[in-house]
């Protein structure tokens, strides 16, 4: 009893001091002596599997881990495709149908339990083989994996692949023996030669090969992670076929060839990537675009990459919280929240002097993106009246949309192609993609006549329209409210419906939306990537989600898609753009301009409009960072 009070006091003091043990910072010790890039992300990472990657956040993370056969030169503009895992450019047959690609020798995957253990307890690795690319393409075509866009680019292109997909449907989802079925158009001629045979010419094939979604996958990863499970005794036991999943959803399953590998992945919390010790020798480019040398972008030419050892992404949902972290120098780069934009950026779109003095640098670039409102062309109201769609396009005040909702971070889109493409200017602005309320009212009268003939007016009025938004947050509703104001100028009521992303996707796929917000980010630098969105056979593939169908347009597209870059193809592209501008299956909004900030200790920053995985070229002056009060 005599020690009771002493023990009680010690416990009380101990409990009181316990929280202080967290003050030293979580896991910072393990970063000592390493170059760490601190950054934040605000959207959910939807995919860890290259085959299912369809959103920018996932692509940013995956770009550091997975690599494709080709990619884009980091510095050169216009964009230039260069080999990544391929050993040189492909050998293309005279008829343009067979691509024979040599694979770099000695490229290793990151170490992973799926390859087994060394006697010293470390995990094994192995080199990349051509068969891994065959498997990657088969997984993209697999009926049981929801590969969306990645499949859309291959569908109908490769000899035997569509037939393989049909066969895969007959297998149970967990039966991976389907990957042993051959595909005539995908062959590993030897360990280092991969061959693709196309059904017909596909000039954009090189761009497709430059996407990381077709990154090699070792069969061991599929069999080990998806086919077996921990037996609780330190071994593995087979998972019954009916209980297997087909997609890599756990960070431990991720096996890539890139410069980084996962160390931690806590959903909606943090992601830590560490240097892949088995990454091949890769060097910083020695050539760039004009002006790059003067900007210091070639200072590290020829040096081995990556320069950064650890990339730490912290999940911060609120943009203002991310901003505060940046201002307190806890992160190296940041976007600019809407609320503070005016105080940071001058009316001339430059960084304010006050911020420059803090050592902050501004980078702006125009990604090849167009945002729009999509009209469901199968809808009995908006799909039935071209004049109604034209009237709504004419009435929508896009300039104020950009100014009010995005702080002026963008410019009006005037046709469906981003202005970075030559064909954008050749096609010229669409006649209805401008603000003209008088013309809109005239068009509305025509629309009423069109709809009256079909008996679709309610009490002589156009019935209430519906706009589905990809969010339930205030930003989404502000956009909806703005759209309501625009539609009301024509006396049209608009009901705004907030959705989470999955619900909106489901509604779009089931053609249940009437009007919805969407946009398109170029997957490759060819207008065909935008034009295929309106090709009617792509309705079934899910990329033509306006459900637009026009035989004349389809005919032009089918002619253009087999042509190489030539004046004839350009003319066909222009005609197609003009057809869309006339039919208005989309109400064009903006081409965004991205603004992001870094501290001056970040080196070699050059935003890339299309590709991912360029963090390997970035360098951090850690001495300067420490001196300036950073981490």
């Amino acid at each position: 009893m005599k020690y009771f009070y002493v023990i009680a006091l010690l416990i009380t003091v101990g409990l009181a001091l316990l929280p202080m043990t967290y003050l030293q910072g979580e896991g910072e010790d393990e970063y000592i002596g390493k170059v760490v890039n601190y950054t934040t992300y605000g959207a959910t990472v939807k995919s860890l599997d290259p085959a299912t990657c369809g959103d920018v956040t996932s692509a940013v993370i995956q770009g550091n881990i997975y690599e494709g056969l080709y990619w884009y030169h980091y510095l050169k503009r216009p964009l230039e495709i260069v080999p990544q895992l391929a050993d040189g450019m492909p050998e293309i047959s005279d008829d343009g149908l067979t691509y024979t690609i040599k694979i770099k020798r000695g490229v290793k995957y990151s170490r992973n339990p799926c390859f087994g253990k060394n006697p010293d307890g470390t995990y094994k690795t192995r080199t990349v083989r051509a068969a891994d690319f065959v498997l990657a393409f088969k997984r993209v075509a697999d009926y049981h994996i929801n590969t969306g866009l990645a499949w859309a680019f291959l569908s109908g292109r490769i000899v035997g692949l569509d037939e393989w997909r049909k066969k895969s449907k007959s297998y149970p989802a967990g039966d991976f023996s389907r990957y042993d079925l051959p595909v005539e158009g995908l062959r590993a001629l030897d360990d280092y030669t991969f061959q693709i045979k196309l059904r017909k010419k596909f000039p954009q094939m090189m761009y497709v090969l430059a996407m990381h979604v077709y990154a090699p996958i070792p069969r061991e990863a599929v069999d080990y992670w998806l086919g077996t499970e921990d037996d609780g005794k330190g071994g593995r036991r087979p998972i019954p076929i009916n209980k297997r999943v087909c997609e890599f959803r756990d960070y431990r399953m991720v096996v890539g060839t890139g410069p980084y590998m996962f160390k931690e992945f806590v959903r909606k919390n943090r992601i830590v990537l560490v240097r892949n010790p088995d990454f091949r020798n890769q060097y910083y480019p020695t050539e760039g675009a004009p002006g790059d040398k003067e900007k210091g972008l070639l200072a590290d030419a020829g040096k081995k990459v990556p320069f950064i050892d650890v990339i730490r992404y912290d999940y911060v949902a609120e943009s203002y919280s991310a901003w505060m972290r940046f201002l307190t120098r806890q992160t190296d780069s940041c976007g600019i929240p809407k609320e503070v934009f005016k105080s940071v950026i001058t009316p001339g779109k430059k960084l304010g002097e006050k911020w420059r003095k803090k050592g902050i640098r501004l980078y702006t670039y125009s990604p090849p993106v167009v945002y729009w409102l999509v009209f469901n062309m199968e809808d009995p109201i908006v799909g039935a009246s071209k004049s109604l769609r034209q009237a709504l396009c004419l009435a929508y005040d896009v300039e104020n949309h950009i100014k009010i909702l995005y702080n002026g971070r963008g410019k009006r889109a005037t046709n469906i192609l981003p202005s970075l493409f030559k064909e954008h200017d050749l096609a010229g602005p669409g006649p209805y993609y401008r603000l003209d309320l008088q013309a809109a009212r005239k068009k509305l009268e025509q629309a009423k006549k069109e709809l009256a003939r079909q008996g679709k007016l309610v009490d002589g009025k156009i019935p209430q329209l519906r706009l589905d938004l990809p969010g339930n947050d205030r930003a989404a509703y502000r956009m909806g409210e703005f759209a309501q104001q625009q539609f009301r100028k024509l006396g049209i009521d608009l009901k705004v419906i907030g959705n989470d992303w999955a619900t909106l996707q489901e509604k779009v796929n089931n053609k249940r939306c009437q009007i919805y917000t969407m946009g398109w980010h170029a997957d490759y630098p060819d207008p065909e990537n935008f034009l295929q969105l309106f090709y009617s056979p792509n309705i079934a593939k899910g990329t033509n989600n306006a459900n637009y169908s026009n035989p004349e347009y389809d005919r032009l597209y089918e002619r253009a898609r087999v042509l190489p870059d030539c004046p004839e193809r350009r003319q066909l592209y222009v005609k197609m753009v003009r057809i869309i501008s006339e039919d208005c299956p989309v109400l064009l909004l903006s081409e965004p301009i991205s603004f992001f900030l870094t501290y001056k200790w970040m080196k070699n920053i050059k935003p890339h409009p299309v590709g991912y995985g360029y963090t390997r070229f970035r360098r951090i002056d850690t001495v300067l960072r420490k001196k300036m009060g950073g981490r």
Binding site: E318, Y320, P337, E339, V340, S343, D397, N400, K403, I404, V458, N472, D473, R474, A476, Y477, R478, G480, E481, F482, Q484, Q485, R488, K495, V496, I497, G498
Partner: protein, 317 residues
């Protein structure tokens, strides 16, 4: 010895002849009239009601009065409470927000209070398995947190439109009707509990036993003889329920589940302006919070005083 009210004692001390036999309502009215705080609160409530009514006529086109060139202006003579993101007057928005809040408050209670009274009276009077069922029902409902129940019911009826394309169209997903129906069908539990307990007590009183003895039908006894004696509970619950309904509307609107876009609401204002404070734009947030604070305070105090006046046994210290 019969107990008399303080007021009667006071009047006797002043040498006046007290009015005996004053009804419950007259007695409550006199009590409230003498309570200055209650009078002030009542005046505030009346003022809000007047604002709610006239603002619809004064600013019928507020939603369309956007002026993008004058967005986010601070308070000035032209716009005493500044402007919002779309350049609309925050003062007008705040006044119209009162209409939304009071409409939701009144409509929700018009549903919940009679429902609670009816179910409570039936449970309390008939007892046995009817009572068991109703008690099970409200216990189950009450076991789920209120806001979660509301969110669930809002989601459940997201795509439901009643009486579509008629003047009585009710959009349960995006419209205001969805909120007050959700609030109404979910907020009757408190009233039901109180009424049930009161009816259990009343049903044993002599006048009820007498009615039973002369063969009056039970349903007649319940509705003719018992229910009128529960009216004060309904009124008290109505005034206190207003507070809950207004708060719930603001929370739902803040979460994006409340009124549709373009409908002025304090919750939407708070949600829209929550990040504005960090850049010094205080007017929209302050207006909504201030307006809400005043009406909730007034309703709370008045509700308390009303309860004291109508049911002296519950009077607070």
């Amino acid at each position: 010895m019969e107990e008399v009210s303080e007021e009667i004692v006071e009047e006797q001390l002043k040498g006046k002849t007290p009015k005996v036999g004053r009804s419950l309502w007259a007695d409550a009215y006199h009590r409230l009239k003498r309570d200055k705080v209650a009078v002030v609160c009542f005046a505030v409530i009346v003022l809000y009601v007047i604002i709610a009514i006239i603002s619809s006529f004064l600013f019928p086109n507020w939603a369309e009065n956007y002026d993008y060139e004058h967005a986010n202006l601070p308070p000035s003579w032209e716009h005493p409470l500044g402007t919002d993101d779309f350049g609309r007057s925050v003062l007008q928005e705040t006044m119209l927000g009162a209409r939304t809040s009071l409409t939701v408050g009144v409509m929700a209670n018009i549903i919940s209070v009679p429902l609670g009274m009816l179910l409570g009276a039936i449970a309390g009077y008939y007892g046995r398995f009817i009572d068991d069922f109703i008690v099970w029902l409200y216990t189950t409902l009450a076991s789920v947190p209120g806001i979660i129940r509301l969110i669930a019911i809002k989601f459940a009826f997201q795509d439901v439109v009643l009486f579509a394309n008629t003047p009585f169209e009710m959009d349960l997903g995006g419209g205001m009707s969805g909120i007050y129906i959700a609030l109404g069908v979910m907020s009757w539990v408190g009233t039901c509990r109180l009424v049930r307990a009161e009816v259990m007590k009343i049903r044993e009183l002599d006048y009820v036993l007498a009615a039973q003895a002369i063969g009056t039908r039970r349903i007649v006894i319940l509705f003719r003889h018992i229910m009128p004696n529960l009216l004060h509970i309904g009124i008290i619950q109505f005034s206190l329920g207003m507070v809950g309904a207004i708060t719930a509307e603001v929370i739902l609107s803040y979460l994006g589940l409340g009124v549709g876009t373009g409908v002025p609401s304090w919750g939407v204002m708070i949600s829209a302006a929550r990040m504005d404070l960090v850049v010094g734009r205080w007017w929209e947030l302050s207006s909504a919070v201030g307006a809400m604070f005043i009406i909730i305070l007034a309703l709370n105090i008045f509700g308390d005083r009303l309860r004291d006046a109508l049911d002296p046994r519950l009077r607070t210290a």
